[in-house]
Assembly symmetry: C3
Homo-oligomer: 338 residues x 3
């Protein structure tokens, strides 16, 4: 797999400097690239690596091009250029557009054109698999669910009933969509199940990470907008609504009925309590617990910074005394005034 | 799917106000319900919504019934009433009580009456599937394991060997029960595996969430009581014992050999260290780290409250100085006394 | 399954005290063992249990042997002895070295000698399954991937393409290896996917826990060394590198491109930010957020200690005032000096 410098620049609709016939056979960071590979300078902290990189060409902003000793492809957003060119070198096996003889397909299911159903995949009653969709080995699409055009389920994905996934989306292995929301009424100390009769509605161009779980709604649907990117092991509880173009890193958990606006970014391991609202464009840092609604865009955090355990123990012990300490400061201030 | 008001009231053994022939075709919250749907008032914070709801009937306590402008079903515990009636409207596909031709069943396994074995399910040697149990597509029941009467495994569940699951339980997709506990002895810097020869014992009427993992015991069994409800992505380590009627929200992790009493509730993302005891009726708030035993019922917490990141950074920096601050307060107090 | 005391002592290359013909039929802790079982004293906190244990024999250090009233096997490292003897009593079903008729194997795959391919397992194009490897029911090995000699994948494991797993490793159910790293370029508010064209490289003698996820590299490989033990529900992001003989407890998450040295131990629920380095031999306590590189071996922590929620609320409120409190102490000190 290789492309000439000119071909890549054309693909990116970009100007370039260097031999148009230069063969590019792969991608690498400035520090790790080998001869024949294309790199990029997106973060100026790495600018010095332009002097030492073994890359044969670099995607770069016009402002840095004079510092570039290799061939160059010039773009305003080099990182976006890298993203686009990564598709040329993708190693993901192409689907074979076949229905494998071991796939189990209900006679009431609707299967579109050029659909791939992998070995041991299952499509249940009244499910719809739209054109060009790919259902990986061992994946199950439940009753009445719909997989959109060109959407790809990797291996061992479980889709429950009444789940709608839009077009051109990617669902990674082990993801579970449509499992029951966690709802129970307490009856004299025992838990009585609340049947979860809503479904899940997921937009177009989404990506759902490996082993991420998205629960079905209690009465109405859990909703995930267009262009949303969820990393691995995320948990979305029942009736959560997530706006368009949000991105959440691994391990983040959103409790029931919380509404998250558009273009929010949540770092890894964040917990968001239930029945909250988070305004468009909010950012939450890693391992933060969000216990109240966020009404103003900005960056939010909780937790404490890391220390050596021996020092941390002292701080942690004092944390319990904080209210007492604050009161003693007040007493001292009064005495000082007095 | 619809039921008359009278039929629903009869089912709940409740009095009602309104046209007995009123057709109820679904459920909705007070704010989201549409005409023809039944709602409920459980949390008095939503009482004002009685004025504006489009629901055709509301399950309500007798104390609020005068404020209700719609038809009403009168119950002391409206939320419990809602839970019970949700079953009438459940959308979960019924099992077909068939053994699918693609299921792989050991000749030494015992399969009860009216059992459903979905496509590509696997039942290994000497496993027992009791009457009316349902094994979803792609689920595996390991050697010597037992699935109780009426228990349902959704799709792609993995049950290892020597796991006993009681009756009328629900195991969601991607749950793993009986994986090896994390046990190793260190031999000059290298880890030597401790074979995990115990099993897992789970009671009746339990629910295990999607992608939750429950490890087998090191020597004796990991034990989960009756009526326990575990949300998604929970981790139960080897030899944990959980009493009856506990409920744990998503992402909670219990380390090895910890014993949790009856009727405890753990919110999401809680971590409980190993070899602890937690007394009956304890509650732990979200993302708390439990590092010592809880001997007195009550609510327990750790962590810090969320702030804007810019303000949080200051607090986090000061957290490291807490011991110093406390000592300086003491010096000031001495000086003030002196 | 039983062994004489002499046979077990021989197996451990250890001296023993007691009847060489004593039959040992199982293992148990000092407090839980029943007659006929072998126990061990590894942690001296349990030494008093020597007086009351019902075990028939105990693996013990020579220094404690005089306090042992039962038969004894004498070893410098009793816990290691227990680990080794656990193998004799392992209950894990042996693989049958058969290729099940329902397994789906590409004609271009290479299958070694004595390989077990369980029901509904899938081996894709050009994959290699080395001698004595075991692929559990419903597990999938992707295109060009390699499973090393004697390595066992339990049920419903998903291995993507271009993943290499070394010899004698154990991969638990639901583990996902080679899923896409979480990489996107932002283009005017929308996320453009960066194809993840690297693979995953895992060493020998590793163990990967249930539902753990390991992402493939963005351009080069994600790398996990020899002898690494990962518990359940761990997340390893793209291009993470983990040295040899590390152990990580459940729920720990490592963000992209972080490098972890040899022999590090991370407790449960730890979060490590991206692009950091952690030096050999570091330890991180449970639920800690690591936000900067660790350059000196030692133990590191963050978070706060658990309190009753009512008291915690006061501390948490004061946490937000910490910077103000610190400044007020300074003012008081100046006044006091003045």
């Amino acid at each position: 797999m290789s492309f000439t410098l000119e071909k890549i620049a054309d693909y990116l609709d970009a100007k370039f400097i260097g031999d148009p016939e230069l063969e590019i056979c792969g991608l690498g960071t400035l520090s790790a690239a080998e001869p024949g590979q294309l790199s990029f300078l997106a973060n100026l902290a790495y600018k010095d690596q332009l002097d030492t990189t073994k890359a044969s060409a670099v995607i770069i902003h016009s402002r840095q091009v004079d510092d570039c000793k290799t061939a160059a492809i010039i773009l305003d957003n080099p990182y976006l250029g890298y993203a686009k060119v990564s598709e040329l070198f993708d190693t993901l096996p192409n689907p074979d557009s076949n229905i494998h003889h071991s796939a189990v397909v209900s006679s009431s299911a609707t299967i579109g054109r050029n659909v791939t159903l992998g070995p041991n995949s299952v499509v249940e009653d009244n499910a719809i698999i739209a054109d060009n969709a790919v259902i990986g080995s061992g994946s199950v699409v439940g009753v009445n669910s719909r997989i959109g055009e060109g959407t790809r389920l990797h291996h061992n994905v479980s889709i429950y009933h009444d789940v709608v996934i839009g077009n051109q989306s990617i669902i990674h292995s082990g993801a579970i969509i449509g499992s029951d929301g966690f709802g129970f009424a307490n009856n004299k100390g025992q838990w009585v199940k609340i049947c979860q009769i809503g479904g899940v509605l997921i937009g177009d161009n989404t990506e759902i990470g490996a082993n991420t779980t998205i629960d079905r709604g209690a009465m109405s649907d859990t909703k995930i907008g267009n262009g949303v990117k969820l990393d691995n092991q995320i948990q979305i509880a029942h009736n959560v609504e997530i706006g368009d173009h949000c991105a959440m890193a691994a391990g983040t958990m959103i409790a029931g009925s919380t509404k998250i606006g558009n273009c929010c970014t949540l770092a890894g391991g964040v917990g968001v309590a239930g029945h909250l609202s988070i305004v468009d464009g909010s950012h939450v840092t890693a391992l933060t617990l969000v216990t109240k609604s966020i009404t103003e865009p900005g960056s939010y955090s909780s937790g404490t910074a890391m220390s050596k355990t021996s020092e941390w123990r002292k701080s942690a012990a004092r944390f319990r005394q904080l209210d007492d300490m604050a009161k003693r400061i007040k007493v001292l201030e009064k005495a000082s005034e007095g």
